[in-house]
Subunit: 584 residues, 2 copies
């Protein structure tokens, strides 16, 4: 039965089941003049369930909350067979969120950017169970999470259940931040989830259809076709650019009488859009938007959103202004989810805005609970807090002074434990730690071979100012997920042979190296087949060639060969046939 | 601007604008290892709007209600420049409805089977305007239709407007027929619109996710994974087959623990499923479903649907039975829409169940109003009603008897005016009309060269029993749309030289030939890459090869090259990667 009804993909997998050495199989099929490349990561089928049936040693229960970047990356990289993994999330799929702005306008389809989480984990050779439910309470005392189905049961209400854990991994992401602006939740679209993107797409078409009705006045038509984007960050800018392309490449041909009424406004509270990027990119983007006729309005705060207008307040003059709109998209950063807020209160983090973890992604104040991705931030330890302990560890003979030899022994541990030290060295263009002291202490001290604690403090005083929290991006979340999976994979090994830096306040070493983020660059698509990119080392690349770089990077980062084929197919379809404007 | 932002398709069109002789252009593009064939029906762009700007002679206003098979076929075939066309429909797209059962399970995507109506009409070189609105009242006295936007306005309520017409074409389709069974509207899914198919797809995944929750008992799990299909017609059967394939080809690999709980029941009130098909097909389908484990329950009527169970009454024994279900799909034929009901009352058809038109698709009782597709039925004139007039016309010399010569003059007109005559000849395997009289009147009469009215009546008495109303299929609707467009295209020409049959009750000839349906065969996909087909001449073809015939026919019938590429792409994707189970 299974053989008879299985897909080609599965049949190919089955055929190669007995040849594990052929672990990669490339099948090239030509279907009606087109070709698709399927890359099959062959694994024996059914082994998951065979494992589960065996009488096993008691496995540690890992519960993962969420199916976003962080948790999917964790699940994909987890290889240790000694865990029993339960995933709980209201989404039964992973969404490739960087393509959401493209989904809003139909440049790619919603279904092309999602992959069922069960598909991702079914290749694992250990048991991974998925439950489509929301976690509404975490009980750290009993090591339980309380979950609720997202569907109503037949008898009203929702199924509730609890899941026990030995290790809990919180990766539930964040919600959109409205800054408590009245009317935003009711009248603005967000751009966080796949459903949001689908709603925006329908809403754009709705505006055009409404503006086409004969009973609508020209003035009203202008209001209906005014699209407002709040937030000049990468998402807001990319959406505004996509929207402009959709309107001017596709919709004006289908609604030619409406071209004169269309307008897009991008609102930013700061002085410039894309202010986290290099100034060259900001300038290029602002100039391109001006050429395209996208109105960029900086320096004004949104104070209210109603069903048909948005109220602004100029930051400089304090004047208020009312802008009527047809659709408004709100993209001004992220806020903490209510369930995380409750959890924070419970664990003594109630006065924080974002949940804090240490450098090993462990939630402060509880054991065996990890948090990664947008739902938490790493509370980096300051060097200055530990300075006496560091000095004490380095000064082995307790002389009260450090010489170069003492120092060399702890240098690597310091750099590993406190990432800000490395950033400081880089920003000062110093090659090593010794140079730091020499540069800070002036020419006279360069000859000094000994350092006392005061000098030591003075040299490191500036270091902490280099600390910055990581941006809430897919890149960070994915790296954290991978990092944590590597820790779990080597848990036993590292329990015996800790590989982390010295514990300065304590004895021994940390079990793992702390998480270290490696920035690989960031894109800002600007529409019209042009993209800006800020690459590591502050390289900036802007233009059509960068768009192709964007295409290749995004295609390669997609989670499966299925989504890769679909997204590339969508790009091709858009190129040939344009975007679809059916209201479905 | 237009050049700079246009799609590749448009750019190619523009390039060939000056060479109208190159009216077909095949562009083969290879995109990242895949190829798509674009077939561009090149027309000069912008001519639509240029025309509109010219001071024109007063054009006749044609209003088309609906964007389904009938109206789209009408719009595609209308070529006369002397009309000003307005299309009003709550859907701004045409949906290729025969693929809806495939959409329910993700074999093809919803967006692959739809084409924006504006895309279809924008190639026309006369003015076609589309309004996304519902017609809620037809005022034949003032030749107006009253329409209402489907969207709420900002100030609450909906935009309303009226559209004047010279000719009104009603092609609004039908709604699902619930036979007033309580609970159907609230708890069952229909399968008429694209949105229905999308909801069913989500609902299937919902059932699987709900059944995966740990708090659900095994008994409850069985109920949740029981899928019920009501109606053993082609749609119900195809859906049941698709669902079976989806469950057994895809979902059981993602939800292996649930396989044992899955069941599908197909309910049919009659004695057999697919009873409009040949007996061989019915038998094959019933046998295949039994092998597949789809339970077919015939001879039982649904008397009630609640949120979690369906109540049946055995037709034979009168016993009632309650079946719990997780999802129920209702597909038992079509009913008349409320707005059409109101219209029927207004024009004196209030006692009918379906709106009646004559053989020229003109609505009985009103002028310049046409109805086609599922929203109307052709009220075929009986030969027996007109028998005296026919005899009178034929009997030119008023002798009270017809000889063969008299007869030959009106034969073609009779056959053309009364399609049942041809059906009768076919069923009796008679070559021509004269044979009919000879066969009916016995050997003695074969030699007779004259017929009196009584013998004439006797010979034609059986003919009317061959009348049957056309099935509510896409094929009928499309042919009616094309027929009506041809009439409109030749309206002036035929006003001068009527081409229809003699008016037997009146003088002169009918302006047009009446509509004649040409049955091209019907498919019944049965799952597992097997399809049954009943082709003209009662040919029956069943099996895998018929599935390939199905693929080719459906691919060729799709409305645009865009949808054709997308659907073929979807079939390929399903073949390689299976169907997607993300809940979006």
């Amino acid at each position: 039965m299974r053989g008879a009804y299985s897909t080609f993909y599965q049949r190919a997998s089955n055929a190669f089941r007995d040849h594990p050495s052929l672990s990669k199989l490339v099948v090239i099929c030509t279907i009606s003049g087109g070709g698709l490349v399927a890359y099959s990561d062959v694994r024996p089928f059914g082994s998951v369930y065979a494992d589960a049936a065996q009488p096993t040693i008691k496995k540690k229960k890992v519960v993962v909350l969420g199916t976003g970047w962080a948790s999917t990356s964790f699940l994909k990289n987890l290889k240790d067979l000694s865990f029993d993994v339960q995933v709980v999330s209201p989404c039964n799929y992973f969404a490739f969120t960087p393509l959401l702005p493209s989904v809003t306008c139909g440049t790619v389809e919603a279904r092309s950017v999602v992959e069922p989480i069960r598909n991702i984990v079914k290749k694992k050779n250990f048991n991974v169970q998925f439950k489509e439910a929301e976690c509404f309470k975490i009980d750290t005392n009993n090591q339980k999470v309380h979950c609720k189905s997202i569907q109503n049961t037949n008898i009203g209400g929702k199924e509730e259940f609890t899941v026990d854990y030995d290790y809990l991994i919180i990766a539930m992401g964040a919600r959109a931040n409205t800054f408590n602006t009245p009317g935003v939740v009711e009248h603005a679209h967000f751009l966080k989830e796949v459903e949001d993107a689908q709603r925006i797409r329908r809403s754009i078409i709705d505006c055009f259809e409404r503006a086409s009705l004969p009973s609508v006045s020209d003035e009203e038509r202008k209001k209906i076709l005014h699209f407002v984007v709040v937030g000049g960050g990468p998402t807001g800018v990319e959406f505004a650019a996509e929207l402009h392309d959709f309107l001017h490449e596709d919709l004006i041909y289908l609604y030619p009488d409406l071209e004169q009424y269309i307008s897009i406004t991008l609102l930013e509270a700061g002085d410039h859009i894309l202010n986290m990027f290099d100034k060259r990119i900001t300038a290029f983007a602002e100039e391109k938007f001006q050429r395209d006729g996208i109105k960029v309005k900086t320096g004004s705060m949104v104070v209210k959103v109603s069903d048909k207008s948005i109220t602004l307040k100029e930051r400089a003059s304090g004047e208020t202004k009312v802008l009527p709109f047809g659709m408004v998209v709100w993209s001004t950063g992220i806020g903490t989810r209510p369930v995380i807020m409750d959890f924070m209160k419970q664990i003594g983090q109630g006065n924080r805005r974002v949940m804090a973890t240490d450098e090993w992604l462990r939630v402060d104040g509880v054991t065996n609970v990890y948090a990664l991705g947008d739902c938490a931030t790493i509370n980096q330890r300051r060097v200055i807090e530990d300075i006496a302990d560091i000095f004490g560890k380095a000064d082995k003979n307790k002389s009260g002074k450090l010489n170069v030899e003492d120092f060399n022994e702890v240098i690597n541990d310091i750099i590993e434990r406190y990432p800000q030290v490395e950033l400081h060295l880089k920003s000062k263009k110093l090659k090593n730690f010794v140079q730091l002291f020499q540069s800070d202490l002036g020419d006279a001290a360069k000859q000094a071979t000994h350092l006392d604690i005061e000098k030591f403090k003075a040299a490191l005083s500036e270091v902490d100012s280099k600390m910055k929290s990581l941006p809430p991006t897919a890149q960070v979340a994915a790296q954290q997920g991978e990092y944590l999976a590597q820790c779990f994979n080597r848990m036993k090994e590292c329990d015996e042979n800790p590989e982390g830096p010295i514990r300065f306040r304590d004895s021994g070493r940390h079990r793992f190296k702390p998480f270290r983020y490696k920035h690989l660059g960031q894109f800002a698509p600007l529409g019209g087949e042009q993209t800006a990119a800020q690459l590591p080392g502050d390289w900036v690349s802007i233009g059509h060639s960068t768009q192709w770089l964007w295409y290749s990077v995004y295609a390669s980062k997609l989670v499966s060969w299925r989504t890769r084929c679909l997204v590339i197919g969508d790009w091709g379809r858009r190129f040939i046939f344009g975007r679809d404007s059916s209201r479905i």
